[in-house]
Amino acid sequence: MMTIAVKFDAVSRHFGVVRAVDAVDLEIAEGEFFAMLGPSGSGKTTCLRLIAGFEQPTSGSISIFGERAEGVPPYRRNVNTVFQDYALFPHLTVLDNVAYGLMVRGIDRSARHKAAEDALSMVKLPGYGERKPSQLSGGQRQRVALARALVNKPRVLLLDEPLGALDLKLREQMQEELKTLQKSLGITFIFVTHDQGEALSMADRVAVFNDGKIVQAGSPADVYGKPRTKFVADFVGSSNVLTPDLTERVSGQRRWSSLRPEQVTLGLSGEKGLLEARMVAAHYLGSTTRIVTEAGGQRIAGVVQAGQSVPDAGTAVHLAFDKSALHFLEDQP
């Protein structure tokens, strides 16, 4: 039977009149790589801080591995955090930073330094122990923060936008490594990000946050392919959201719908599934060209393969897509 690592039961966290987290229900299974995705101020970081114990819920209950967590201070939770800006102790060496959790537990010097060395090897920084955090690059600090959390063998690892400060190449590499590490350790990873690509590529399950609530939770394929609301469709993969008017013109049903840009291309008049539009702009991306068009007073993005000619702005075009690609949303028309 699946063990539940973290469970939220109608959890709210209000700061004055601001409802940072508003009646959130959530279940995260043991060993799961779970992503909390949402724009800034959507409540995802507050949820993470509730699990870590830095915040206490205004109402509702949180349990971690079946134990009630309200009122339990952060230092009595077997949960560790990788902070957004790493929060490495500037006055300690890398080795002492990593060994910190073991030091405060009273583990003797040689044993904790040995464990810290092992953790540094695990994150591919062997022999960096004598340096100070200020002598490391951003990517290296990130790894030290990871080693410092993992050396305590937490049941749940929380990651607060850990890759946000890294450049693109390093970020992709770290995504791979985090994923591999999580699989080999079997620890529950809970990951906060505003980058939908990161959430989709790494997580087993994604929860999309907006205004302190979870709008949709499910597998990356579900969230991406079957968004429930306009917000999810737009935020996860910047999908085209079609108004009820436009949807009616295309499908005959008067509802909100979403259409992935990669499903939309330019077609010839006379083909089926066509929508008349006008070119607005084209962005050359190398292997493809992203086009922006206007139809029925609404912007619709599409993709044109390399080699295909791209009409000038203002030209009348026909947008081609498979009608089954149209996904109906739950929002009321």
Partner: protein, 312 residues
């Protein structure tokens, strides 16, 4: 077509600005000459003159300064009475510094971590306001407060705690007839007068400790005490050391507070004042002045060895 480069006549200030722009060293030199000149001649110069005179000695018969290099004056520092003065000043400075640090830390911590908006303004006002009034007025006010007929005695009497005050004053050496004529009184006034100089640097150093380091420490399993010992204190240490430089050296050099409040026994500052004034023994006064300089040098070296500045 309008010109891209404005190369016409710029006037005198324009030409001067261009000249300084093209020669940054000239700009730097013109900015630094005056303050550096002041520093070297007036500040360092007088210090060198002082050091120089401390190697002279006084002729005991005539009472005149003998301008010949000798270590005789420094030898006089080690006579029992002078050693007493040095030791007394050193202990008082250390006690005042420790007390200031202990009292200042919670205030500075509150100001740095919790005070916002008007509370912060109130904090700065509270710390700075005593510095705006005359030092002498404050010291004489304290003499009245601590006097046998003063408010402290009265409060202890009203609370039926006179026996406590008496017990305190009965302590040998640091006690006395009343607080205003005991070392305890001198100590209290020193702490009062110098504590802003400890609060401000400690507050500045605590303000630079990011809040997420404290969260990270708790996250890694440290309780409040462990977080204080392992994170907050080491990171605040440069501020405490900076503050202690003020409180320590100000106490060592002061000659007014121990003269107004306390026993009649001398501190270094009073001894310097007496030697260079009525006694006319400039060399000994100079040598006595070198003592705090040397002590501060030793103190800073030890602090640096112990890693007090590592977090800077």
């Amino acid at each position: 077509m309008s010109a891209v480069l404005d190369s016409g006549d710029q006037g005198v200030t324009g030409r001067l600005a261009d000249r300084l722009w093209s020669q940054p060293r000239l700009l730097l030199a013109s900015l630094l000459t005056l303050p550096l000149g002041w520093l070297i001649i007036v500040y360092i110069g007088s210090l060198v003159a002082l050091l120089w005179q401390s190697f002279y000695s006084i002729d005991e018969m005539s009472g005149l300064v003998v301008p010949e290099f000798t270590l005789k004056t420094y030898g006089e520092l080690f006579t029992p009475s002078n050693l007493d003065i040095i030791l007394r000043t050193l202990l008082m400075s250390a006690a005042v510094t420790v007390a200031c640090a202990i009292l200042a830390f919670p205030i500075a911590y509150f100001a740095a971590r919790y005070a916002k908006g008007k509370w912060k303004a109130l904090f700065y006002l509270g710390v700075m306001m005593p510095l705006w009034s005359s030092y002498l007025v404050k010291v004489y006010a304290w003499k009245l407060i601590l006097a046998k007929e003063g408010i402290v005695t009265w409060i202890f009497a009203k609370l039926h705690l006179t026996f406590l005050l008496d017990a305190l004053l009965a302590i040998p050496v640091i006690g006395g007839n009343s607080l205003s004529v005991s070392y305890i009184g001198t100590f209290l006034v020193f702490v009062y007068v110098w504590i802003p100089f400890m609060i401000l640097p400690v507050q500045a150093s605590l303000e630079r400790v990011p809040g997420n380091l404290i969260e990270a420490s708790a996250d890694l399993g440290a309780n409040s005490g462990q977080t204080f010992r392992n994170v907050i204190f080491p990171l605040a240490l440069p501020g405490i050391v900076a503050g202690s430089i003020f409180t320590f050296s100000l106490t060592m050099g002061d000659y007014i507070i121990p003269q107004i409040i306390g026993s009649s026994r001398l501190f270094i500052g009073q001894a310097v004042y007496a030697q260079q004034g009525t006694a006319g023994n400039i060399p000994l006064a100079a040598a006595l002045t070198v003592v705090p300089v040397v002590i501060m040098g030793i103190y800073l070296t030890v602090a640096k060895r112990m890693g007090a500045f590592d977090a800077l």
